[in-house]
């Protein structure tokens, strides 16, 4: 297993480099004006100097290699500096956003907690709700619960977040006034009152995102459970006199969860990507919203860095999913 992991990690490096090259080339090929958001009163020579300083006019290959060095060398050193208080990266050029002219990673570090709170929590909530639904739907196949669950899952998968999100705002914020429609990004959670406010403003975006996850995972789990409920070993477990709950929740579930856990692991990177639309609707200042604004502003380093982080997460969680499969299913051994 260790051999396999190391081999996969080593192979991941050229994969990621290739991905970063593709991202970079695509972004460079896209038309746009990097400093177009600056006021028109700035004279063109000053603009030109600013562009020079940001490295916009350097040759493509040089820009790419500089970015690589900044991402893989400078930023980690800076992180070590921040943690350990050393000065390894003092004086080195970090990745600079063209919009804000400040380091990309500082901004990302600011935004990540929002995304993790809202999107991460939504994923966890979605999975936790999906488990009992999937198990019960399979155990009582074709019952009223199952039919309702199937219909609800179909709706949940078919209705996009930008529709369900707006609908929820309409019902819960405008008509019922239960939850705030605008995410207060300045809310400092330092008291129970503020904590409660934070919870209240997270409910809707979390629910909107969770609907997608719940629908998908509950269907997967239902299908996997149905496969396993008719297996011979279930009959053996019953013949041993095991209680029905033990048969279903230990014998069958353990087998059924194997493919489902890999789906869950593969879905984690999409947590970050899928948040893009939801963060726009609820105005949560997370990574997704950062990416959108950076794209609009043609902020190449920001877009490059964020999409590359997504790529790293996807490659990493693919590996995690494969390893989990090997851990959970004793019949699979990679060596």
């Amino acid at each position: 297993m260790l051999n396999y992991t190391i081999r996969r990690l080593v192979l991941a490096v050229p994969t990621l480099l290739f991905i970063s090259l593709i991202i970079f080339s695509l972004l460079k090929l896209a038309p746009g004006n990097p400093l177009g958001d600056l006021p028109l009163t700035i004279p063109p020579e000053v603009r030109e100097k600013m562009r020079e300083a940001l490295g916009v006019n350097k040759p493509l290959l040089v820009q790419y290699l500089l970015w690589l060095k900044e991402f893989f060398v400078v930023e980690p050193l800076h992180l070590i500096d921040v943690i350990f208080g050393t000065h390894y990266s003092a004086g080195m050029q970090r990745i600079i956003s063209w919009q804000t002219r400040s380091p990309v990673f500082d901004i990302i570090a600011q935004r990540i907690p929002q995304t993790l709170w809202v999107v991460g929590l939504a994923y966890v909530v979605g999975v936790l709700i999906a488990l009992p639904i999937g198990i019960l739907s399979a155990y009582k196949q074709y019952s009223v619960f199952d039919q309702t669950g199937t219909f609800a899952a179909m709706l949940g998968l078919a209705v996009p977040p930008f529709f369900s999100g707006v609908l929820m705002i309409l019902i819960f914020s405008v008509y019922l006034n239960w939850f705030p429609a605008i995410y207060n990004t300045n809310l400092n959670v330092d008291s129970w009152h503020n904590f409660w406010l934070q919870i209240r403003q997270m409910v809707m975006p979390v629910l909107v995102l969770a609907i997608q996850t719940t629908s998908q995972i509950s269907r997967y789990l239902r299908s996997s459970m149905l496969d396993n409920l008719s297996q011979d070993y279930v009959r053996t477990a019953r013949a041993k006199g095991m209680s029905e709950s033990r048969v279903v929740l230990i014998h069958v579930l353990r087998n059924s969860m194997i493919p489902v856990i890999t789906v869950i692991a593969l879905g984690v990177p999409s947590v970050f990507g899928g948040a893009i639309v939801t963060e726009q609707i609820f105005l949560v200042n997370g990574i997704g919203q950062l990416l959108i604004t950076a794209i609009y502003a043609n902020d190449l380093p920001m877009v490059q860095t964020i999409t590359f982080i997504f790529a790293v997460l996807i490659v990493l969680f693919n590996l995690v999913a494969d390893l989990l499969y090997g851990v959970l299913d004793p019949r699979i051994r990679y060596d």
Binding site: Q231, D232, Y233, R235, T236, A237, R238, A239, K240, G241, M242, S243, H251, R254, N255, I258, L328, D329, P330, R331
Partner: protein, 335 residues
């Protein structure tokens, strides 16, 4: 060897019906038999004769929506298992009645190690601690002839061969020292040499532990080697029942006689054609009102089409047959 006058299992007029889309399938039609302590009852019949369904009906292992054990009594240990509560049945399954299934490759749960699956009934029915259960599990594996038992406890089913897996199944069935062991074609899926080993093992275990055994098979050779008494089933009914020697020496029912003729002879000249019983076993859509075998019978007459023959004694050896034809006179038996 058989002893004791009181049967440990007494089945009277058992009826099981399956509700299917095409109607009701009468799989078990008034089956009666009893099992004495320490005795091995062989149950023979074609596929579709109702052998497995009868035995699974005894401990309620058939899935309840389509299957319905609709009539009769199953007297075991002071309970009527047909009407007993789920809780009572669960206490009896695995503890007082052990069951061995046909296909060892799929009867064990692939994600739990053999020790876990063996220790489950020990901990539940006998209340043993983990360490106590583990010791007993080692004893059981040694009893069924698995070498290196203590380290094998941690192995998974896929690390055992077919014959070894069936031995594990036998160990699980015997774990709590049951009074009755029901073996549903335990060697059908194994090759002949392993089959012989398993048969020897079961005979040995019967000597040591003294439980009563029901052995279902379609192989008359196995019956000859192991059974004290034999029950021949056809169309969900017992058509003949006798001590093993008596059945082979003096078969009464045309079906039994035809079955014995189908076994190819090892000695003598090889016959150009195999003896078969033409036709297919019936699927009974209603409780039988006539003899189910008459279409394939060499000796059928008019009465066979209007009445369903009931079991009548033949000779003095505890031999009975359900047929209107008399083998001795080669004609109709006296009413």
């Amino acid at each position: 060897m058989p002893d004791g006058a009181l049967p440990v299992l007494d089945v009277k007029d058992l009826k099981t019906v399956f509700r299917t889309r095409g109607g009701q399938v009468h799989a078990v039609n008034s089956v009666s038999f009893h099992l004495h302590p320490g005795e091995l009852l062989g149950v023979v019949g074609e596929s579709g004769s109702g052998k497995s369904v009868t035995m699974m009906s005894l401990i309620g292992l058939l899935p309840s929506p389509p299957a319905n054990v609709s009539g009769g009594q199953i007297l075991f240990d002071g309970h009527d298992l047909r009407t007993a509560s789920d809780e009572t049945l669960r206490k009896i399954r695995g503890a007082r009645i052990g069951f061995i299934f046909q296909d060892p490759m799929t009867s064990l749960n692939p994600v739990f190690n053999v020790g876990f699956q063996l220790m489950e009934p020990l901990r539940k029915h006998m209340g043993l601690s983990k360490a106590g259960a583990r010791d007993r599990a080692v004893e059981l594996l040694e009893l069924v002839g698995i070498p290196d038992a203590r380290s094998r406890l941690r192995d998974y089913p896929h690390q055992f061969s077919g014959g070894m897996r069936q031995r594990v199944m036998i160990a699980i069935a015997l774990a709590c020292d049951p009074k009755v062991l029901i073996a549903d074609e335990p060697t059908t899926a194994l090759d002949v040499t392993i089959q012989a080993q398993i048969i020897e093992l079961v005979k040995e275990l019967r000597e040591k532990l003294g439980m009563a055994i029901v052995w279902i098979t379609h192989d008359l050779g196995v019956i000859a080697g192991i059974a004290d008494r034999v029950m021949v089933m056809y169309g969900g009914q017992v058509v003949e029942q006798a001590p093993a020697r008596e059945l082979f020496a003096n078969p009464q029912h045309p079906y039994t006689r035809a079955l014995l003729k189908t076994v190819p002879k090892v000695h003598g000249a090889r016959e150009p054609k195999l003896n078969v019983i033409e036709g297919q076993p019936p699927i009974l859509m209603a409780a039988p009102s006539a003899c189910s075998f008459r279409d394939r019978c060499a000796h059928a007459f008019a009465r066979c089409g209007t009445e369903n023959p009931q079991r009548r004694p033949v000779g003095a050896n505890g031999h009975d047959v359900a047929c209107f034809w008399d083998a001795a006179t080669q004609g109709e038996a006296d009413a």
